[in-house]
Symmetry: C2
DNA sequence: TAGTGGTCTAGACCACGCA
DNA sequence: GCGTGGTCTAGACCACTAC
C-alpha cells in the first residue's frame, strides 16, 4: 500500500529543501502553486505543510507565505539551547574561546558518526559563559567528509548551524539529547573555573539533517549552579 | 475576535474530560455525533480532535474511535519516564521502598505549589531500581487539598498518576522538567548505595492537569552510571 | 487590491476492527 | 456489514501583509 498522498508530498518538499531547490529564509511556492504542479488538491498540500510546520521544518506566516527556516542564532537558541535558570528564565551563551583541531576518531564516537576508528575528525572545543561567568565547555565533533572545515586558522561563525546551512546547505532538523551527571574532568574544571570532580551536567547530542543523516555529535559540560536543562513533556 | 471554532470545540472537549463527562479508557462520541451536538461540521470536530491527539490528550484508533487516555503504568513509562541507557534502551523502574508522610511546606516548594509556607504537604519518598540496582530516590510533594492521601497506612498504587486519575479524576496533561547535576545528599547516597557527594542527576518536575493546575511537584535523584535523561528536540 | 495562509463546510471513498 | 477514523477533494469566506 502506498503512503498517503500528503506524506508523499511531504517527502518531496523535504527533498527540495535538502537539495537546495528551496532556499532558507525564502518562501516556498504557494499552496495552490504546489497543488497545481504536483497534481493534488490544495487541501492535500496544506496537510503536508501542516505536518512540516508541526516539526518546525517550515514556518507558516499568514499573508506572507510558507518559509524554509533560516538557521539564525536566535533560532538555534530558541529551538536547541535548553539551558535556563531555575525559574525557567532563558539564558544566552556568550563565547569565550574556541579551538578547532583534527583528531583520530575516539572509539565511542566513531560508531556514532559511522566512521572508522581513528579516522580523522574535526573537533571544535569551545568555552562559553552564562550570566557573565564561564559555565560550559563543549566538544563538537564532525566528519570532514560531510562538513569540511578550516582545520586551523579561519574564524568560525558564532552559530555553527548557520555555518552548516550557509556553506554546505545542511539544515539541522532534529537533535537527540542524552543528559547525565558526572564529575568534572580536569580540563573542564580548569576551563570554567570550578573544582575538579565537581558535579556537572554532561549533555551528549546527536544532530541530524533533513535527510536523517547524523552530521554532528557534541558533548557539552555545564556547571549547573542555578542553571539546568529544561524541557516540557506532553 | 472570538477564538476559531475548532479551538472552542477543543476547550469544550478538554472540559468534559476534566469534569468526568468523558471517562479515561472510554471512547468519546464519534466525530459525527459531536458535530451534530455542537452544531459544527465533522471537519471542524476532526481538527479539534487532531490538535488534542497532537498533545496526547486523546488517542485516535482507526475503526475503533477516539479515546480519553488512561493513566496506565505503561503510559506513564512511555510518556513521562525519560531515563534510558546510553544507547537509548528503555529502562523500567522497579519499586524498592515507599514512605508517605506529612510535612510543613518547605519555602522553595510552597511558592511552586501555591500554598502558604509551612502549610501541610504530603510527601511520598520512594526508592526505585534500574537494571536490578537501586538508582533513584524521589520526593513527590502534593497538596492534600487537591489530592487527599492516606497520610500513613494504606498502600499506594504502583503508578501514582493512575491513582490520581482513578480516585480523583485528575489526569496529568503536561510536565515541565528541570534537570541539573548535584552532589548526592547523605540520605540519597545511603538509599541508592553510592558515595556521599557523588555526582547525581536531579530532575525537578512540575506536573499539570487538564485544566492547567499544578497538582504535583517532585524531585528525583538519579545515579547516572550508563543511564541518562533522553529527549528529542525538533 | 492582490495574494497569501487560516477557517469552515460538504461530501466521497478508503482502511480498519469487530460482530 | 456496520461504524469508526483516515484520506482526498472542492469551494467559500476570513485575516493578514505588502504594494
Amino acid at each position: 500500500m502506498p503512503a498517503p498522498l500528503y506524506l508523499q508530498i511531504r517527502e518531496i518538499l523535504i527533498a527540495r529543501m535538502a537539495t537546495g531547490t528551496f532556499r532558507p529564509g525564502h518562501p516556498l511556492p504557494s499552496e495552490f502553486a504546489l497543488a497545481a504542479e504536483l497534481n493534488v488538491s490544495q487541501g492535500t498540500v496544506r496537510k503536508a505543510l501542516d505536518t512540516l510546520a508541526a516539526d518546525n521544518l517550515v514556518i507558516r506566516r499568514q499573508g506572507l507565505g510558507t518559509f524554509m527556516p533560516e538557521a539564525t542564532a536566535e533560532r538555534a537558541l530558541f529551538q536547541y539551547f535548553r539551558m535556563t535558570g531555575a525559574d525557567g528564565e532563558s539564558l544566552i551563551p556568550v563565547p569565550i574561546s574556541e579551538d578547532i583541531s583534527t583528531h583520530p576518531a575516539p572509539a565511542h564516537l566513531a560508531s556514532r558518526l559511522s566512521v572508522a576508528e581513528n579516522a580523522p575528525l574535526i573537533r571544535i572545543r569551545r568555552v562559553r559563559a552564562l550570566r557573565h561567568a564561564p559555565a560550559t565547555l563543549e566538544d563538537i565533533w564532525i566528519d570532514p567528509q560531510i562538513l569540511p572545515m578550516p582545520a586551523n586558522g579561519a574564524p568560525l561563525p558564532n552559530a555553527l548551524y548557520t555555518h552548516y546551512q550557509r556553506a554546505h546547505n545542511i539544515s539541522i532538523a532534529r537533535a537527540e539529547d542524552f543528559v547525565s551527571a558526572t564529575a568534572a574532568p580536569a580540563h573542564v574544571a580548569q576551563a570554567i573555573s570550578i573544582p575538579q570532580d565537581a558535579p556537572v551536567l554532561l549533555v551528549r547530542r546527536d544532530a541530524y539533517d533533513l535527510t536523517g543523516r547524523l552530521v554532528e555529535t557534541r558533548e557539552s559540560y555545564f556547571h549547573t549552579d542555578g542553571i539546568g536543562y529544561s524541557v516540557t513533556l506532553r
